[in-house]
Subunit: 564 residues, 2 copies
């Protein structure tokens, strides 16, 4: 472990938490209300004495989060409101005051209009074709009405480490043996990782080397209330979502605070500029330019049904408008069908040369329903196209590698600068493999302090509470290799704050936790680092469920940062 001793941070932790994403891709730890919270909420709402006389025209969208919802007709039938989880933070020391409810209703209405006019939209899963045809079945993206507060010092740290993580990923990606060795036990029990490793092995065998390397990453953090530290949840090296919509939500919040900030005592200038979409588009454009074939295009590798397509379209729109670079969209199955490798290594898909293959699919086992998709993934990797990510960048972002890098003296193998390694370590949560017997013993004794995370991506599979103990005991009894499919992580206890979460036109007052993601872009060509910088940010805010140990039903919403 790094500079933060796990035993220190864990010994003071006494409340279990619970968390997962609405857009279920990556798994997260989950919090529950913290009685010692000092993480001041931006919004003060009297949740103990609900005065919300508002509204819903719709039934509860998410039964798991609104067992106590009060739904009454909305005046003007404009905007819906509901209370969820009322009283769940009765222990909170935060003194909530009421925001004028009519004001909230106005802000929600304005926000919904703003989303509609400014492309803060997603496909509505309940509408046919909404995942395939743009322009039909749109609904506003779920959003927090106001930005989430983060202390500036932690924000600065998260920004500072972004280029260091970029560099780390690049260095790790070059160490094929480290990747293969670290994942060798996982390979035996996790078919998905095994197939990725096979592709990686093939590339090692043919000495495939990527001169031009492009990373579009997002490092996710939570503020741990116990240790007052910013702890990394995971580093996404493939398909980091929402670089497009994150900028739009920041603009929404800035616009709302411009008009209502005075009433709320909030200053729109404290929402940091969010350049994620512009900078990701720029990185794609510059990678395209390095590829140096004016007739080649950027290929976005997509899922056949993509309700988050508008997030992707924002990047491609900027790519076209600002850089005049054309993007095409192809599924892995289409790439298998239409793809062709020329003798010189050029990847053609539907007769078009591909300069950059930008993966917004291919991160989960479900993206590979047949051999066709695996053939496509291999074809892309074998080609000269710039992969974002390459197979080695992809592997460098796995949980197992995250855990290996957290071991003592491992970072130093990849990074020379001691300041840099110290900064990274500051952000490392406790991470262990299941062959560390002292930690297993401790986790069986105090399971509430740990999360068991499967190496496999896809979200929603984390194990909490007594289930940690039971699973560890079972694995010990069975003595199987299955333990290699998991890592253990320190359980993080984020601050719980009141929030107004708007989904499907309905505003929910609730207690919520927030996760900060920092986007960063990395581009190099041989020895020349062309881009290495943070690009922007995303906050996802979610009901702090008291459903400990279970998998919270999705209700994360897009959010932005308010610095204090």
């Amino acid at each position: 472990m790094g500079a933060h001793s796990s035993s220190l941070s864990l010994s003071t932790a006494n409340i279990t938490t619970d968390y997962s994403s609405l857009f279920p891709r990556k798994s997260k730890p989950k919090p529950k209300p913290n009685p010692n919270s000092t993480f001041s909420p931006t919004i003060e709402i009297n949740l103990l004495k609900p005065t919300c006389s508002f509204i819903s025209q719709n039934s509860c969208l998410n039964n798991s989060t609104c067992p106590s919802s009060k739904i009454v007709p909305l005046r003007c039938a404009k905007v819906g409101f509901m209370e969820t989880q009322e009283g769940s933070t009765s222990k909170s020391i935060i003194e909530f005051h009421s925001i004028d409810e009519e004001l909230v209703q106005k802000i929600v209405y304005d926000a919904l209009v703003w989303c509609s006019l400014h492309g803060l939209v997603v496909g509505d899963k309940s509408v046919q074709r909404s995942g395939a045809v743009p322009g039909v079945g749109m609904v506003h993206a779920p959003f927090a009405l106001l930005p989430a507060t983060f202390p500036e010092s932690h924000w600065n740290l998260a920004c500072e480490v972004a280029p260091i993580f970029n560099e780390l990923v690049d260095r790790v990606s070059l160490d094929g043996k480290f990747l293969q060795d670290s994942l060798s036990r996982t390979k035996k029990v996790d078919v998905f990782t095994s197939r990725l490793l096979d592709i990686h092995s093939k590339m090692l065998e043919i000495n495939k080397f990527e001169d031009i390397r492009l990373g579009l990453h997002r490092s996710d953090y939570m503020l741990d209330e116990e240790t007052k530290s910013l702890l990394q949840i995971e580093l996404n090296t493939i398909s980091a979502s929402f670089p497009g919509l994150s900028c739009v939500i920041s603009e929404l919040h800035r616009s709302l605070l411009k008009h209502y900030g005075e009433h709320l005592a909030l200053d729109s200038k404290r929402i940091p500029t969010n350049a994620a979409a512009n900078q990701f588009a720029e990185a794609l454009a510059r990678a395209w330019s390095e590829y140096n074939n004016p007739r080649a295009v950027v290929m976005v590798v997509v899922q056949p049904q993509e309700h988050n397509m508008y997030d992707q379209h924002w990047l491609c729109a900027i790519l076209k408008e600002k850089y005049n670079v054309t993007a095409i969209r192809k599924t892995l199955a289409e790439i298998d069908e239409e793809g062709e490798l020329l003798p010189d290594g050029t990847l053609l898909v539907d007769h078009q040369a591909i300069a950059v293959a930008y993966f917004r699919a291919g991160y989960a086992p479900t993206d590979f329903p047949s051999e066709a998709e695996w053939r496509a993934r291999l074809l892309v990797e074998q080609s000269l196209a710039i992969k974002c990510p390459s197979i080695s960048y992809h592997l460098a972002g796995t949980k197992k590698i995250q855990q290996e890098l957290a071991k003592p003296n491992v970072l130093e193998r990849f990074l020379d600068n001691k300041e840099d390694t110290a900064k990274l370590r500051k952000c490392f949560a406790g991470l262990w493999s299941l062959d560390e017997s002292d930690i297993i013993k401790r986790a069986i004794e105090r399971p509430e302090l740990f999360v068991m995370k499967p190496q496999r991506e896809g979200g929603g599979n984390n194990i909490y509470g007594d289930d940690v103990k039971e699973n560890l005991l079972r694995l010990q009894r069975e003595g199987s290799e299955e333990d290699a499919a998991y890592i253990l992580m320190q359980r993080i206890f984020p601050a719980v704050s009141p929030a107004l979460l708007v989904r499907n036109g309905i505003c929910h007052k609730d207690h919520a936790i927030s996760e900060l993601g920092i986007y960063s872009a990395y581009l190099r060509n041989k020895d020349k680092v062309i881009i290495n910088d943070k690009s922007g940010y995303l906050v996802r805010t979610k009901v702090a469920s008291s459903n400990e140990g279970g998998v919270a039903a999705g209700f994360a919403v897009l959010d932005s940062v308010y610095l204090n």
Copy 2:
């Protein structure tokens, strides 16, 4: 009649036409393909030999327009295409060439994405709450893929007459006796007009005079192929729709031509700047400013369900962003419930002083389901709030007044400038009341050259073809006053051009006709004219149905202008 003799223009007309709006508010004449058309189409598509190998994932949305549709699965399941009315212009002298269909598919996809990201949206009637709650159940507004060609000379004329029509409306509105007298027979047979006249009478009785008068108008035109003249269909003085979305569709076309113009031999610079939204918002803001109460708001009078709300929201967003003027939305029923007239004439609604009442409802009998709505309309009229429109502006825009103004020497009662009256007359189609026996005789002989239009608004009630004859004969037999409920209008034969109409994510190749609307704003305070100018434009394009005499099922789409 005016400078254009009706007998001349009618005697050369030999093809019947048919037209109505998708957004059924105002009734229109309807065309059918014209074998002598010389109005060159912008788009050249081989419709006689359909090579379109594209797509629909959806069933036909509009059965009446696609009896011959070919629907085959779309590659990539991205965008749908269908052929409608194929071969319907087989007599056309225009030589269609093929646009590359893959290119069309790309442009359609890009256009759909563009709509989604830039707020070119409407509520999807098939989704619950989409007419009441912003941000839910959105679908791209139906649009023409490329702008409609208009000759620059006609465009210039339409722009030139806009301020003259504004002035005319204002002058006519001041002549209460003219309005009452002209509509006296209509009053007996049309309950809706009668109620409006009652309000008008009450205002005359109390000598109510509006110092500040605001008009946000749209004058609609079609190019008559027979006479090569631009003929006015109607002048909308109440609730002129699409000032918001018309600007966005112009931007869409400009963006598409920027990227694809070279392939299509079209120049984005030939799409005129469209400032309708900005200028209507400015007019509202300046009217608000003339009202001179910083705490007062603009009230948009809306229908309880409004699927075109985003068009309205665009105006209000600009009003807020650019002029920091707040708008509220109220239905007539809400105004009745929450409205209050202070002794000084101030209109309060929900305790807020109303500076401007901007009607986007109240133009059709269906907007007044009970006495409550009529009480609200009267309340607003009695108040000091600036009405857009006032009752007299509203009446000045009725078809009967349009017809009265077209009589010889009537324009001269209101306008001094001979050049101005001559310009207006150029745009007048033949218009007659049903007490002109020689015209009735002629219409019974040649019904295909006339349209019978009910005075009542609401659209879809125009009478064409043999039905004109039958109805006129019936009215003669019955000798009732019912004839006063109608006017007769020269039937206009607009050019038919091939077009690509996109609705609900599906592109239809078809033959279409276009109607040009010119927005104009007028604001005066006592003797001072503050604004009198054209503001922008809208084109609505619609399948040229061969269903002669019937009411075409709605399939008008938003379009913009390409000057040639």
